[in-house]
């Protein structure tokens, strides 16, 4: 199985798909660098705890990793994991698009059959 290498543009797509602008910004800051949570917190007009919560959401989604170095927690965007999330969610989307198409076909077939019964027939 080949996981496609995520281009910068594709990484941007994922970032734009994040609903929260702070989390988008955190992801961007943590691609090339590994800021500590404290350093990140200084970048935003909110409490340290609020920034910690944002990082926790990203970590739970597998988009960033946290590594303890000394007294600090360093945050790093896991580009490969972002790519895998995109692939899985793309496949999930394709699965459901297919299902909805088949549901629609079934509904249309049943409508045709119902019409034939009411309009056609030799008896």
């Amino acid at each position: 199985m080949v996981v496609e290498q995520l281009s910068n543009g594709a990484v941007d797509d994922v970032f734009h798909a994040l609903a929260d602008p702070t989390r988008r910004d955190i992801l961007r800051r943590c691609i090339a660098a590994e800021p500590s949570v404290s350093r990140l917190a200084r970048a935003y007009p909110m409490s340290f705890a609020a920034v910690q919560k944002h990082v926790a959401v990203l970590e739970r989604a597998g988009l960033v990793t946290k590594e303890r170095r000394g007294r600090e927690q360093l945050v790093h965007t896991d580009a490969a994991a972002v790519g895998r999330a995109r692939q899985a969610l793309d496949e999930l989307e394709a699965t459901w698009r297919g299902r909805v198409d088949r549901m629609s076909d079934l509904l249309a077939q049943d409508t045709e059959r119902a019409k034939d019964r009411t309009t056609g027939g030799s008896g």
Partner: protein, 161 residues
């Protein structure tokens, strides 16, 4: 039928799809509630589903087989967590072992469906969510199956054209 919107959420690892069907709500609900209808759309033509047990009640289960082109068989299971006929359904979709017990090495996906009447048609809101990042990774690992299904499904479409 129109697919009105599809939203991918990278934070809660879900896909939300809204489709508008030109059919009354009872008929759209039947696609879920009638096992003989469900098995005709759940899997792609190259990997069709056969529904065995079908109990849409809270705590009930739906079990199904998916049969691949080389004869390989995969077992699936829905654990129903909530149902409000004809308008709503929620279940965990899990892979199962051959004896029907859930395979805990394999991923869990939670599906929430809501049907609403819109004029003479029906809107279906469907959200499919990985239970955790671990489930997403497991799905991807086994989900060359899904990838295969999609690829072969697309081939079916091309061959039929």
């Amino acid at each position: 039928m129109t697919i009105t919107s599809v939203d991918t959420n990278y934070e809660d690892l879900s896909v939300t799809l809204i489709a508008d069907f030109d059919a009354p709500i009872d008929r759209v609900w039947e696609l879920w509630s009638d096992p003989r209808k469900l098995e005709r759309w759940w899997g792609p033509p190259s990997f069709p589903a056969t529904v065995e047990k079908h109990d849409l009640s809270p705590g009930g289960e739906v079990t199904y087989l998916m049969t691949g082109p080389d004869g390989e068989i995969h077992h699936g299971l829905w654990r129903i967590t909530a149902v409000g006929s004809p308008a709503s359904l929620e279940f965990d979709d899990v892979f199962a072992n051959a004896d029907g017990t859930p395979n805990t090495d394999l991923p869990v996906n939670t599906v929430t469906v809501r049907l609403t009447e819109r004029g003479s048609g029906t809107r279906m809101e469907m959200r499919s969510k990985f239970k955790s990042r671990e489930d997403l990774e497991k799905w991807l690992a086994t989900g060359t199956l899904e990838g295969q299904r999609q690829a072969v499904g697309q081939m079916d479409v091309l061959l039929a054209a």
